[in-house]
Symmetry: C2
Subunit: 129 residues, 2 copies
Amino acid sequence: MADAQPLKPTDAELEVLQVLWQNGPSTVRFVNDELNKTKEVGYTTTLKIMQLMTEKNMVRRDESNRSHVYEPLLKEEATQKHLLDKFLDSAFRGSASRLVMQALGNHQTTPEELNQIRDLLNKLEGGTK
Amino acid sequence: MADAQPLKPTDAELEVLQVLWQNGPSTVRFVNDELNKTKEVGYTTTLKIMQLMTEKNMVRRDESNRSHVYEPLLKEEATQKHLLDKFLDSAFRGSASRLVMQALGNHQTTPEELNQIRDLLNKLEGGTK
DNA sequence: TTGCAACTACGAAATATTTCGTATATATTT
DNA sequence: AAATATATACGAAATATTTCGTAGTTGCAA
């Protein structure tokens, strides 16, 4: 057996996933270089994390070339949803609206994005103006 | 020295803080009982966590009675903001709007709350309709 | 005044996660 | 062909976090 659960990735695993989601299937070398743009981390450290992720079926490894290529098996949206649920519970006691208010209040958002959100609100309110 | 940093509480610490934020200064016994409504956890485990939190200045301990009373030193809002920032970065690569859309989409929110959010949107857009 | 119940202190084990050194294999360059 | 660069595998140390047993106190009830 072996299934791609919507497991909760650890912090280090999530960082790797972000690189893969953003850039598609990549080698350890590439991922490690990306990570090093932000923080210092050894090559074998990244390698190890990705090996563990392979065992957990979070990524799939293509070994046809000497440099293995890793592809994410977890979907970005599904994983975000999963993490959001947990975060909402633990940090906001489940109050989505409070989280949303904080997120909108503390971070700059473009008018376009605000409009998208407004559209969503309209849909949610069932057209109520 | 010793200051009440907006430190990142661990999961266990956050659970304790939620109880304190929601109920005000409490004893270990009370906190432990609350936690046990959700999951099983030993009394001394909770005690230990709260002792560590005291050392980290996340809570203050009143020892005047035999049962010590713990009061949160971290503010709920500030802590949420801190955690949200981190979460936004790690899970949504900083895109507040994507997080908001997901949060609104996946969780039921009352019309009143939606209106609150709409008001906030209006303010943020600077009145642009 | 004895004994039980409820507390705190504290060390240490159990887990979970991250980090990296070393060995070894395989390309590539000179 | 030798030296050098680049990969993977793997064990194990370093950290971080959680969990709990045990010892010792104190309050209270029988």
